[in-house]
């Protein structure tokens, strides 16, 4: 005797019973333009959505989106699974260690949730071009680096062309660190973008070189001494790999000797690894909360069944539960979405190198290797090698020599996929 066919079992009216209450019924707090019924349901079930990152947030996001009716989900992640991921990246098992996160996550979700297609890409976000990103209606990021967020933000925000509404792609961005997290919505050209809030990012702990070299006091100083000073001395050709247990053992040994010399206690294997990899412990609950918040926003944006958040929520959970939701303002001179150029003030007798140093120091630009040019000429280009050599002499020339007061300079940098316009004004 054969039993009922799968199609009957997956009757959407039954399966999505809870979801459809929001999509079949009007409500006083629905978003403007919400029309309940078949069209909005079909839209939700058919659009393409991209999840960037298949780690702590990514796993939660994929689950949440799949169980919210999205059926065509793509996921990008360049990493493979590590044993330390298993405490929260619940789509992975011990036997998956070493495999691609994106591929393993996709496999698990598709096996668990019928009718959803997850298309993984095991690689970098920079490996894909505008055509790739153009296919998505919404992009959700569960990343762990400022650089990757800046890249996606700049790429997607710049894709938006007012004359072609399909190029408008909301970005939902989530981030977590221990008990803290945030989720936000970026609507290109309408709300603040990621670059607008760059100076809000806290920099990781660094220790002064003189402390590391001469006056260590903490076990961290001893570990940094071993990794930053001793390792290059002993292995000038070899790069220190924080994931190689042999390397960590070597560091542990050297750091322990140094610690003993200075009567410092506390050097352990896990501290050594933590310092070298700049690890901040991650907990499952924060990821669950932030990812769910992002997925909720995706649901609301895709259907209009309720209003999306406006536009940034911060969460802290170590002392009670606390959220702070506010509207982050656009920066007028944002290099990505702003209409106005950044104003830089510098003394005309300063050198071009001084100007470059200034740009690298500024928290709101965070450039790594800036190249500068004016409308008419290249001031200093980091690449290619011939051009770098040709423009290098400019570094010691004065600003007065190279530019006029208020002149526009275009800056490009590996941290930003677009160019940044600034005007240089003379002080003093």
């Amino acid at each position: 005797m054969s039993f009922a066919q799968p199609q009957h079992i997956l009757n959407p009216e039954l399966r999505w019973h809870d979801l459809y209450k929001y999509l079949d019924r009007p409500g006083p707090y629905a978003n403007e333009g919400f029309t309940p019924g078949a069209v909005v349901k079909e839209f939700l079930h058919s659009i393409k959505i991209l999840v960037v990152g298949a780690g702590g947030l990514g796993c939660e996001l994929l689950k949440d989106l799949a169980l919210t009716g999205f059926t065509d989900i793509h996921v990008i992640d360049m990493d493979t699974i590590d044993i330390s991921n298993l405490n929260r990246q619940f789509l992975f098992r011990a036997s998956d260690v070493g495999r691609s996160k994106a591929e393993t996550a996709a496999e698990f979700i598709m096996k668990r949730v019928p009718g959803v297609t997850i298309t993984p890409f095991f690689g970098k976000i920079q490996d894909k071009d505008e055509d790739y990103y153009d296919q998505f209606t919404i992009i959700i990021c569960g990343l762990d680096s400022v650089e990757a967020r800046r890249w996606i933000n700049a790429t997607v925000v710049n894709m938006y062309d007012e004359d072609y509404p399909e190029t408008f792609k909301p970005i939902i961005d989530g981030g977590t660190e221990g008990f803290k997290g945030q989720s936000r919505i970026i609507l290109p050209s309408i709300t603040a973008c990621y670059e607008c809030s760059l100076d809000m990012q806290t920099k990781p702990t660094t220790y002064p070189m003189c402390t590391i070299a001469n006056t260590p006091r903490l076990p961290e100083h001893c570990i940094e001494w071993a990794s930053v000073l001793e390792w290059p001395r002993e292995f000038p050709e070899k790069k220190l790999d924080g994931d190689d247990p042999e390397h960590i053992k070597w560091l542990l040994d050297r750091a322990s000797s140094r610690a003993k010399e200075f009567d410092i206690t506390g050097v352990t294997y896990s501290l050594a690894q933590g310092v070298v990899k700049n690890i901040i412990p991650a907990i499952a609950s924060t990821n669950a909360i932030v990812a769910a918040s992002c997925a909720t926003e995706a649901f609301k944006i895709a259907t209009n069944c309720s209003t999306p958040m406006s536009n940034y929520m911060m969460y802290v959970g170590d002392q009670g539960v606390y959220t702070y939701t506010f509207e982050l303002q656009k920066k007028e001179d944002c290099p990505v979405c702003g209409g106005v150029s950044i104003k830089i003030e510098i003394h005309p007798s300063a050198t071009l190198q001084d100007l470059i140093d200034l740009l690298m120091e500024r928290k709101d630009t965070q450039l790594k290797k800036p190249s500068l040019r004016t409308e008419s000429t290249s001031l200093y280009m980091q690449a290619p090698r011939m051009l770098e050599e040709a423009t290098r002499p400019n570094l010691v020339r004065t600003i007065a020599d190279l530019l006029s007061d208020g002149e526009q300079v275009t800056v490009t940098d590996e941290a930003l996929p677009i160019s940044m316009n600034m005007t240089v004004h003379f002080t003093g």
């Binding site: 689950k63 949440d64 949730v113 006091r217 209003t307």
Partner: protein
Amino acid sequence: MTVVDARNVEVQDLGHNFFVTKDHLGQSRGKTVTELLLELNSEVAGEYVQKDPAEIIANSPEFFDQFTLVIATQLDGESVQRLADVCWEAELPLVVVRVHGLIGYSRIVVPEHTVIESHPEQIVDLRFDCPFETLRQFADSFDLESLDSHSYGHVPYIVILLKCVEHWKGLHGGALPSNGTERSDFKDLIRSTQRPDLLENQNFEEALSAAYRAWTPTTIPASINAIINDDRASKLSSKTPNFWFIAKAVQEFVANEGQGYLPLPGNVPDMHADSDSYIKLQTIFRAKAREDAATVSRRVQALLATVGEPSDRVPQDEIDRFCKNAGYLKVIRYRSLKEEYHPSSAKSKEIGNWLESDPADNIGWYIMLRVYEDCYARNKLYPGLSSEHLENDAAALRKAYENFMTERGLNASLVPDEHIEEFTRAGGSELHVLAALQGGLVAQEVIKLLTRQYVPLDNTVIFNGMKSIASVYSL
């Protein structure tokens, strides 16, 4: 963990429950969920009980005696109240969770929750105004005048501040800088000890930044005084938890050996200094902390003896942690659900005030959740479940709401009518995303309750998924 659920896996579950699959349709939901959850962590043991929680609560509440903590999700209002009474009697922590469309709710209920390790941002207790003997000697051992420039630039800022405080006290009859002018003068005093030839001077910059610590007298925070003088600390018995024995011992320490001060935590923040001086400073602080902890320990043992308990009942490690965190202890005495619900003790007036100052306050959704359960209790029907008579359902909900407000002496116009419509629209739906979010919040609170680390919320959190705002209330 034990999962209690009477139902079998249905198609509706496939739309929002990650721990069931279509292959499990028709099978026990509790069994299925337990099996799939256990895959996440091989060190977890799990069981299921195929029974209706409401039935167990009504007929065999002794079932809950075996647990350390109970989490109740989507339970009807009456069962929740009964369960809360059962757990309260047994001093068993209970966490109530609900989701309703885009609204999430949790309530923690337990008579008392004590926390030693609340994990404050920083534990700083440097005793500038009352240096203990070895610290004073250490500071005195520095003859600043005689030091060469390099050494001068590596004197720990604690020593610099100690010397400045001592000097100031000498000139002001033992008093600390106590107003704006004096504080400014104190900072000038610090600056005057800098050598003009030293441009580096990071230790003096640190001294200036930390100057406020030097002029703030070392005191015991009011909340800590309340804890160590609490009734539970004074009235010890063999049944009293360890926390209170140590609290009493610390109270005695403060009144005697501590000379009015808490046991020293003993940590020293990192600072610009030569390694030798820094390590010496750390050693001095650690030694004093150990000494204080040992004294507290002796007192704990004496107290245990007075009630006939074995002297090793309280582990040394617990005493050490208590002493280290003495300035940051937390004791939460939750209000019972009975107190929250009963009109004579409910915080109706506060609720009225919150809504009057902000009609959009999330407490409006709390009222909706309460009223929703009242509606069910009255009519054996949840409004909004079926699309057929939404208007009637909204009317029923509105009636229940009006009764609720009248019973509490509150104006029925306080909650916007749109809330009632929206709540009916949501019709008891369990959206996965809200369940996941509320689940994440609750999971963390449960971990805090079980580990007694970090501080759990007191006592209700509402998450509004429309505005993306969480609000905490003590109801």
